[in-house]
Symmetry: D2
Subunit: 368 residues, 4 copies
């Protein structure tokens, strides 16, 4: 088995088109552009269908990285997994997290135990009518397994976060399907984002054995008892396939980083956030020599309209979408417990954690 080392660097941005931080680190040698596997970002759009900050950020990064990699911008976009989650409501702060991976000859002597590892895979392109349905679930499950192998992770218990980027429906795509006599899961672009996220998350759950593989089309966005504890899915207008990134710990990794996770049962589950922090050495009695790199979490308005018995108004607000409400609230809680707003809290947690809750993963850097 090959040994890899993984880097995780969080870089603040001054706007969706800002690549200066990353370029400076490449310039100084702190980041080797050829080692970049994935970039996850929080951009400051509305996180909805018409959030163009995501594609703008990707375009800016591809254009900037192209000469460094000797590729065209389009080739950069094929090579690196870009996952931009729109929406920095409340105290959330725009930033990107750059994941690098390099092979190393062998593990340094000082490293023991499992360390953070990363793997990646893609599905094929989907037809519009496949989004939010079993085809998307099954293809995603296959890609998750492939990404685990790519990460050198054999045990599902070592998988702590599976980030997926998935497509959505636009008017054009719905009409294209209709033109072929096919009905999409929904005709609403906005609703399609939920379907795509939900089916992708169920694909993770299937791959990790969290649920059985006998899911039906009608379970998506309905049977919320079916979920993954580590899936995080984001839909964007810019692609028609799923990109799967598996984050976990592996004995084959020689990285300085460790990842852990917990599951928030609802949007105010502070103990879960603290448990996730504790799982990588933070908490009431923090281990020395560790620094917080980033937190990755999903947030949603609980579909039953209440949190611990108290009514919330997120789902019935015509002015602000519920995903924006949820990111703001959960972002506020996590930022408070983490001490920073530069965390990755993404909206739309259908089948990602229990209804109204969501996964929360923490990456720590070990100083030695």
């Amino acid at each position: 088995m090959r040994t890899t080392t993984v880097g995780v660097i969080r870089i603040a941005t001054t706007g969706p088109g800002d690549v200066s931080g990353l370029m400076a680190m490449i310039g100084s040698g702190a980041i080797d552009p050829a080692a970049i596997l994935a970039i996850l970002g929080k951009t400051e759009g509305n996180g909805g269908v018409n959030d163009f900050t995501r594609e703008y950020a990707v375009a800016a990064l591809c254009t900037a990285l192209a000469p460094k990699l000797g590729l065209t911008p389009h080739e950069v976009e094929q090579r690196i997994a870009f996952v931009m989650s729109g929406g920095t409501e409340g105290v959330l702060s725009p930033h990107i997290t750059v994941f690098t991976r390099q092979e190393v000859a062998q593990r340094p002597a000082g490293i023991s135990g499992k360390r953070m590892s990363i793997g990646m895979a893609h599905t094929r392109d989907f037809l519009p009518e496949e989004l939010g349905r079993t085809a998307q679930i099954a293809e995603t499950a296959k890609a998750v397994s492939a990404a685990m192998a790519d990460a050198g992770i054999a045990d599902v218990a070592d998988v702590h976060f599976v980030q997926i980027k998935c497509p959505l429906l636009t008017s054009d795509r719905v009409e294209a399907a209709a033109g072929r006599g096919k009905k999409t899961a929904t005709t609403s672009a906005y609703t399609s984002m939920a379907y795509s996220r939900g089916a992708s998350a169920l694909g993770v759950a299937v791959a990790l054995g969290e649920i059985g593989s006998d899911i039906r089309d009608e379970d998506v966005l309905r049977r919320y008892d079916l979920f993954s504890k580590v899936a995080s899915t984001s839909s964007g207008i810019e692609l028609m396939h799923n990109v799967v990134i598996v984050l976990g710990n592996s004995a084959a990794s020689a990285s300085e980083f460790e990842i852990g996770h917990a599951v928030m049962d609802d949007a105010i589950d502070a103990p879960a956030v603290m448990a996730a922090l504790k799982s990588v050495g933070f908490g009431a009695d923090p281990q020395p020599g560790r620094e917080l790199v980033n937190i990755f979490a999903k947030a949603e308005a609980s579909p039953n309209g209440a949190v611990r018995g108290f009514r919330h108004t997120m789902l019935e607000d015509t002015d602000i979408s519920s995903t924006r409400h949820a990111r703001a609230a959960v972002g506020g809680l996590i930022a408070g417990l983490a001490g920073t707003g530069a965390v990755y809290v993404s909206g739309g947690a259908e089948h990602q954690g229990p209804a109204g809750g969501g996964p929360v993963a923490v990456i720590a850097r070990l100083k030695h």
Copy 2:
């Protein structure tokens, strides 16, 4: 000195016009309508200039209480202090908190120490051009002192929360002033809410000796080093004077309740929220026989555009006002630490706590 007892009851609402919970408690005898001094509520509007859920809630309450009190609805509105804070973003849950006060012959034997007390006062009506300026500050300071006396509180250290309801400017009011040759502090209705909240808070700070009384017009919304640690001010379209409600602890109170507070230094100051909880017996090692009644806090987007060095986007969002962002985020944090979204988090914390932060008060009920 007279001895009073104070009641604090939190009641969930199903909408801004919902009075059924209060009416049921009056019907059962749990609340004596004649004892109601003030009602603070969170209503589910946008919290901005055109948030009519506040006045709707007040109208519904006045209409419902009128026959119980043998008054007209208008007389009810004069008698009881209604403070409706619009905006239940994120996990915040619409509710009202009913404060009652009754004189009792003497303190029951079992009660020792200071207990929660409440006092109230009004300023005169302001002219539009007085809002956000020294006239509003000075009149508010006088009213705070009057309300302290009404609460039986002599020591400013016993004041833990001063809730003020204050006016805002509308196009009509700006024009009325202009017609008299007077220039208002701003011509924007939205901005005027900040001016009025800020000047009112400075009035509290003056009254409690937190700052000197030599404030100038130009300090309002500029010198954010001047603030009160216990002021909470909300502006609404429905009045032209300030209503001041002082909450604190007093040896003259025989109530079952206790109040404490802390100051959040910024919007992610989780330790301050925990300190406020601890001040009335909650926290890591909670005292038995106590239940949380409600938390009252103010939230705002830090005016310098950052929280602990990380940029936030609240002030530059044209789609969602920064007050909505801030309530959602701080509401998420407080709800997480309190275990409930039915807390009173109000937006617009100008001169209420340090810039970007705000006061947080907690009321506990002692079971015996």
Copy 3:
């Protein structure tokens, strides 16, 4: 056949709770409260699920009219049809239109031809799972026929506007249905507004013979070739049945008013607006002695994402709902051609006019 006279008075409001204009006209004798049949209003909320300005306006009107009618507010709400359409985007101006009806002994000598008449009917309460489906369509059709009879209109060609107020689904209602093992047409409150409006409009089309009666559940919000040219439907949270108001011209009416209509083929159909104006004597060569009372129109974002081949962005905007966009745009056009923003333009025109278009009716007052 009885002879009736109908009054139509437009009154500007200063807010959703403002009843002063109506009360002044009752005080002066200009309006007999006992003759009020219906009040249609534009209130300044968001027009969505959480638009409380509608119920606030109704509550304020009922409370104010109660003593004038010797009824309780609740009885007033049962007696008069209140249809509040939320959303005064752009130049639209908040106002109410009061419709009165009185029997008269006989037609005055000076009146010839058909004059404006009004009729009203209700359906039974619907179950949540009936909304947006054939049950709502069939019951509505029956009520339209009943309202025509009430208006003294026999010929469907004399019907120029059918205003319907219909229910929507809330989380509670969806759960209530689910508790009985029933699935509602949608679980989204917002989407349910469209279903309810659409089914109600189809009911009008059936009653007026514009389409056949063999509609199926699955045609609602899909077969947009099925529509009524005179239906205008608004959904609100405050009721569970449909209220139907038929406006047309009748030989049995002795009123000073005349009504006409046209159908906008799309949201920029200026010629249709001008045709509607011309149908009651306005236009390039206006008839003397007539004044415009009000215009009633429906607006929607064309579901195919384009207007005359040019893409619009209303359906993919996560920040502003498409109904708000559409009201603003169509309101701007109609206000421009009418010379006033105090017109009734209501959003959500599903099955009301062709896809992307909507009915537009004009009421004129004849001075003699």
Copy 4:
């Protein structure tokens, strides 16, 4: 005097990053990239401070044009004037209008009269504290005169539209000024957009002799009786100087195009729109052989809160900014009269036309 020919091509876009239409026309030879002087666009963002669709569109265009011009993207941005106006509310349709200019040896024989001409100039970079004040006014006036000369226009009566792109304040810029001991006109980014637009428009009015040059800082956004009838100004985060583009008719132009204009007195001034159309041969009795190329207009919520005596709610809406309301409404009117939503209606008309109104210019293409 040199003779120039001018091209004006409107191209629909599928998103802010879509350059395919322009590239196709360059590919087919329909547009010579070297001749492009300016590109005005409507992009589908919110038009506010955080509207990144503008800079994204510019970045995409610069990147695409760079290889065609043998320049770097940055050099393209310096060479071509890009004015992206954010906000396609209602029926407005995203598009760009490409303006080209080329010198020709002499006027073709068939062309008589004045034809459309275009000129351009820049101001120096402004300091943050100069925005919205006399420095910006005076520098803009100088640039307008320079752009007129560049267009070969000597008579101010031949100037029909002056498009200006101007800066805004961000938190950073406000702080930078404060750091130098300077106070900016406002600390609000959003309000700064209005100041910058207003001062720029006053600069046009000064240059064209519409008002005197004795403007004071305090007149900006206050003395709305001072305005230009042809100024159109848009603020954006991406620059610190003003870019001035003068559009008019000139005897030195050999172009196929003609431009005319009118001034809307308020947001519902349909006759003004019709007058502008008529000025270039459209209207009730249209001249043959002409086609409409585009309409350029400015829209705003009237600052006094009413349109022809009826209250509007645009200025007091906390959920939707007034610029979005105004664009939607005026866009609806102009689209209705023009028969297309692909028109350039831009928000924020401070000192551009009378208060609440704005300029409207029409470009026609003469077929021969």
